[in-house]
Symmetry: D3
Subunit: 341 residues, 6 copies
């Protein structure tokens, strides 16, 4: 029988596609002469994962009009992401260099993105009306508006149109203090954009940044912070958080918690004792959550997001190349690593 792609929900993401460059085998750059590369970026990571889960995905972005941009577009197609809203422009693609840590040695990242093709995006380059046709979810993160005024304005226009169309907007509004170099107050802009969103993916940290509050990190603090956020940003319906404990760069623990608007729910903690790749685990959580909300109730959605996040630690690269079946298995406690023949 031929593939049936009918009746799947469509998710649109807006954000930068980055090339990740990383020496293999935990090497430091100065002891290498070769690097692995991957195309990712927080929003593309979400789109890729949703695509592997079987959803329809499309990303709005700018890439460079050169051999690097061509490769980026091919990588998006490889991941099953619709590239018809990708522009080619005369600025280089954003890059980041990653030295992968191990045990007590932290990973290090160096960016080259602030004058790149996405930083130069302008609202008139984006046809939101067309792209949001038949769209069910629009996902954004706090990285995009932090890159440039143009990225911020483009995103804001999209969120407004999405709200009008009744599209569910999912926000992962992490505040990164070393971005936001174009002269705006990041806290206020994130506050404005969260006001145009429906699902908040973040916790006390993010709420405190956005509301300039000082809630505590325990259960009570999280519930209060969530309620405060919902009262300030009434489009927000639910708040989904994850709690990470780092034993070392190679050994991490993770569980999810959420305020559903009426209840506090949590998941069991999952433990990853041999981390393969730490990058994109938050994006895997966000993608798991979007898939989960589209298919399950809040409790199961949260568990799906947490299991997806845990599995991402076992996958090389930025995107979570796992299937729904693999996530469900972990949710069911099959974590002993039996070989699938």
């Amino acid at each position: 029988m031929q593939n049936n792609q009918a009746h799947k929900a469509k998710v649109v993401t807006f954000g930068e596609v980055l090339m990740r460059l990383s020496p293999s085998e935990n090497r430091k750059l100065q002891q290498s002469n070769q690097m692995d590369f991957f195309f990712g970026g927080t929003e593309m990571n979400v789109a890729s994962s949703l695509s592997y889960f079987g959803m329809n995905t499309q990303q709005i972005t700018n890439v460079s009009d050169d051999l690097v941009g061509e490769a980026a577009i091919a990588a998006m197609r490889h991941a099953g992401i619709d590239v018809s809203a990708v522009n080619k422009v005369e600025h280089p693609l954003g890059i980041y260099f990653l030295e992968v840590g191990a045990s007590m040695r932290s990973s290090k990242i160096a960016y080259n993105r602030l004058h790149g093709s996405f930083a130069n995006i302008r609202p008139e380059q984006v046809n939101w009306e067309k792209t949001l046709e038949n769209c069910n979810y629009l996902h954004w993160t706090g990285i995009s508006p932090a890159i440039s005024e143009g990225a911020y304005q483009s995103l804001k226009e999209g969120l407004e149109i999405a709200q009008k169309k009744g599209i569910k907007v999912t926000a992962d509004p992490a505040y990164r203090s070393n971005l936001w170099q174009y002269g705006k107050d990041g806290h206020e802009i994130l506050n404005e954009l969260v006001g145009l969103s429906n699902i908040f993916i973040g916790g006390v940290n993010e709420i405190n940044e956005i509301l300039k509050t000082d809630f505590s990190f325990d259960e009570a603090g999280f519930i209060e912070a969530s309620k405060k956020l919902i009262s300030e940003c009434p489009n927000i319906e639910k708040v989904f958080d994850k709690i990470r404990t780092g034993v070392s760069a190679s050994w991490q623990k993770i569980y999810g918690r959420a305020w559903t608007g009426s209840a506090y729910i949590t998941t069991p903690e999952l433990e990853i004792t041999s981390v393969v790749d730490r990058i994109g685990t938050g994006d895997a959580y966000a993608a798991g959550l979007i898939y989960g909300l589209d298919h399950y109730n809040d409790q199961k959605a949260l568990e799906f997001a947490n299991a997806a996040c845990a599995l991402k630690h076992t996958i090389l690269g930025d995107a979570n190349l796992v299937s729904v079946e693999e996530v469900l298995e972990v949710m069911q406690g099959n974590t002993g690593g039996r070989i699938k023949r």
Copy 2:
């Protein structure tokens, strides 16, 4: 501005997707512990090249319903090929092993395909009517009907529908004697299928195989053979051939010749003194021809095909990852290898 994919011609291919496995650095398999792999196969190579030329492409095929088939589909998407007519079945994907030769040492190939997913294709798995909607070209080769009865029957049905719909059928009907193990006479079947085709990509060798004739390989022989073919298979309009001279596995010369139905035309000979990859050069010629016929007159189409074929010798893997601009440059004689900055 967003990508504009409107008004491009669509080409449909029918054929097997093969995984190619090859030790790197000209190694023999027995001195290796690592292989490079590529997904290709003669028809997918044509589709990939046309996709890089900017045409819309789709392939009808079966892949394995396992991790190998998933990777094959992702590779097709990466190449820009529409995968909505790809089936997943419970048979392994076809494979070939390649030991790359050098100088006077020939390359060697070992196949594992005769019980694979494509060999098990059956006519009822293919929705020709739907796939050929809005299609301008249907391309097939002599490999597909040689694999299995099911592949032959499926292809035949498609050619008949294409003829009814007025779709231009391009045939590359090479006869491979070590295939054709399912009990049919390959010469007769190819004859039948060429009868349902419009453009013949092949030369005296192929015509002699199909018509069981004995034309000579010189210009006169080629013209006579072409006329004979057209008289026997009146749907055929034109015959496009290429002449290869192998100085060694690393040094090849190539030129094109054609019978346009009314004239004999040729191209200058191109010389590749440092062959990177010899596989898929015929497919690059076929793809160049289809693009050429869709955009240019016969002479320029033949030159485009020949230049595309020559360029493929410089590209690793099965598919011809070159742009129209690169082919045109070679046609214009810019073969000195200046760096493009």
Copy 3:
């Protein structure tokens, strides 16, 4: 002094040689363009390990008459296995693809073997009388008779001759339900072949499959099951089992237990916290057991088998490339990883 190879016991194995293909660095196939390969297969793994332990080994098998088969034969020679009973036939060598898991992500395997060179073996291709000359042990597993009628018939003939010659037959008769596609009842055939064997390498699971019983997995169940097996298959003298606990794909625990015909014995549990390769650990156990039974008493043989199995988790590839000395060190509790200079 020159190598002295006199007076070593000879072990013959019968089974398929498979090429294993696996992306490196825990990658999924679809994010790779290169694979590592190894030649293995359960019986060759046993032969290789015994060869590294210093025993004489020979394997009866069919390989493809092409570049892949040549490489397989060279790999067998590399491992010190006598290849004079290997046939070259016109069918491709069996293959499996492995995506290596990590932490809670399971490894995945896809096979391509059911129409391969070994599946096409026929009794008349095997000269059992000659190969079993001077042979002390004949080892078989439940995979071989599950592949094809020809493999089953060939093996059965060998076991009968071995019993006549007084050769000790070791059986590792795991039942794999996704094989056995040629129309026979696997349970019954395994029962028949175990009846022609002397050492049973397996536990409650395998006994339940073969006898269609339902013994429990605890100590009492194991002892009862073993006694029942011996009463049904009186050639069987002893039953050697191993118990694996998977913390994750990267962290495994293992211990051995056995019914010696008169006593229940066990080993301490060994823990592998950083698994390098999970494949072939059962084969390492079987090889350790054969070596152990040839050199030690039952208790020490079981401990040797368990330590060999644990060490295999630290070795890349299918075969257990460790020496007797390395196994003995682990048996003695030296597991702290001091550097040997």
Copy 4:
């Protein structure tokens, strides 16, 4: 005996250090997941080569204050370049991506440098007085003043100080039209800076660009152009040119010609039939020339430069890792590739 580094001439270079990223095996970026990298840039290439010839070298540049900049500095040290005049700044290191061509396929380059650490250099960051102490040669190219106003001003200051100190200034003032984006007329600036230089490394093309003249490319044209240049820029003493003929990207021919102020001299043509790396061959010529002028007469210097340039085509990476002895051998006609044991 201990290394003796006394009494060697010192050469200072001023320019950008670039990271080169390139897929291996002639791959296109989109078919790769790994890249080789090298640190280079036209001026560092000259410094490296001179260092391998045994001269003292130092480079003035800015690198990024991150893991990439650290690796760049280590690479400079590896090449024997004094790094005490290297600044670390808060801008990313310049990068270029290279797809290596073959036969008639051209290499392609994509740059990411215009907002990098070197582009942000400012005159006050450079201590020319200190760096030019004990310096014999100062080398610059037309790339540096084309990058940014700051780079231009910094360089100009250095040239002025060099002229005052009587340091020999060697200029390789190629005009790259796709640089020069900061608003100045490149022709005029190059004219100004050549006016502060003593040795002109370039030919009719470069002279025409700088003087806005239209001399022909034959011998007579070259001599006239050289004389005109010397009359316009009286600090210039000699003009050294090289003539390249590209059979293909893999096969190049090269010879040198010069106007010594009083005579026209040339070298035999050298032919490289298997090009390993085309990048940096002009820099190898410049370095060969500087070494040659420091040790030999004009004729031998030109031959040394031409042989060094030819040899660079056989060396992977940007820098010419060959010794004086290797260059002299090629000058003496020993090009048959005997193994040196």
Copy 5:
């Protein structure tokens, strides 16, 4: 601003530079066809680490006068080590082969050094007076005098001059019984050389070897042994030891203890659960200690040494490529592996 390298302490090391050759991915040599290589050796490892900590370093050694020696010198420069006291001689560079263990499998090393370039060092090849100008620390280990009579005599001369000049001599006098093949009693020679040293890096084991005593390994034994050592070798001021517990080759624990001449001090234990590379961890401790003693009090120096040693387990290769900042972070307990952006 330009790099300021003024007023840094200078450390001189004396010892062999070895090429380490190691199959990647935990492979055994016999299953590989490729090896990674690094230049190291215990004293160069100390110099490299001190160089990354920002100190001035120089090593006295002999390398081969061939392509291997050239690469060794470039590697030393890369690490920031002054190579002006390196001699090139007509003997091959020392080599060691490393098979990296995992879990309970030990790493294995095979050496090829006893007839190498360093083993052939002679006192007249070393200009100690010049090299020790402006030197603050001279570091040696028990390996050097064990290699050859010439190495012993050269070192002894250096220690005598250092004592005269008031340079602080740090000794890491491990006794390796499989060296010392040139006919001298290693215990006595080490005793003599420790008598010319000021800081003893070692513990009960080393003291027992040198003094031919039998102190116990507990705290009391360590203190007594240290006091005895100081009474026998009165130049020794302090004794710095580290205690390693190997859970497996992949999981190690480490803490430091010292007798400061007047007090017993210790550090918390650090745990490395995913060892990347076990080689050179002792050298990382020694380097950490030298840096620590130059900058901090004894307690902080010991903690710095222990943290540096722990971090080395996460770095591939022989040298500890970490910065002072990274060590301080681990000392402060930040071992959870957060990504540094």
Copy 6:
């Protein structure tokens, strides 16, 4: 049918097994961090090639009693060489480093062999009587007696026994002036050993070295030299030479000539325009000759040797991994590099 290994001629070789270490991609060692390795050495190369041609082969040698020696033995087994006459001794295996040249850049080699396991061979370690049982050919080269007195004495004893047994001795007595460091006159020893040989593989150069004569290199000189050699060393029956012309390191031409005792014969010249590996081409010639003499007349043997030598230039590593069929094809002029499917 099972492999039939009866009635094949057996060839014994005596010589050193060397590990070759070489950076890939034409890199220089100092720009690499990884090397490919192969086990070879001139005599093992001959044995390997003869084994691939289907002859029985055995090598007498010493290897190191460590992980390197184990890998060397496995490599010999992989090549089909009988290893029962290989000793393990307490000296490291010989090594050579190779930087592969290209075009006019020569390859460079650095050795580490003079204190290795083979250099320490002693006559009492070799059981010639047993090894030469059923032997048809004994092959030696001028390298072995040049390594050490022990190697010379061991070889001489073997040649004497071979002459007694009527075994055909083939000699490839190249004189390498940078060996012969143990105090004997290499010319005289080679003269003595050639006196114990039957087939001389070498030309005017080698004869002049051995006889201390001064024959010219043209046809007449070769014939005279051959006659002189036969008169001085009457066991010699025939002289087989090859003439190499190096266009560059990447482009070589080769033809064979011989004096059969009664006639001068030659072969056509073969041209290798893309050399993959230049090492071991002389050994490939020698192996081709031995196979040829065992199967064909002198003319065809010489052509077989020349074609085998040419093919070796296309094979990576030291040994000529080609079959008899591949050599015959080249002899028949099929050098155009058609793919073998």
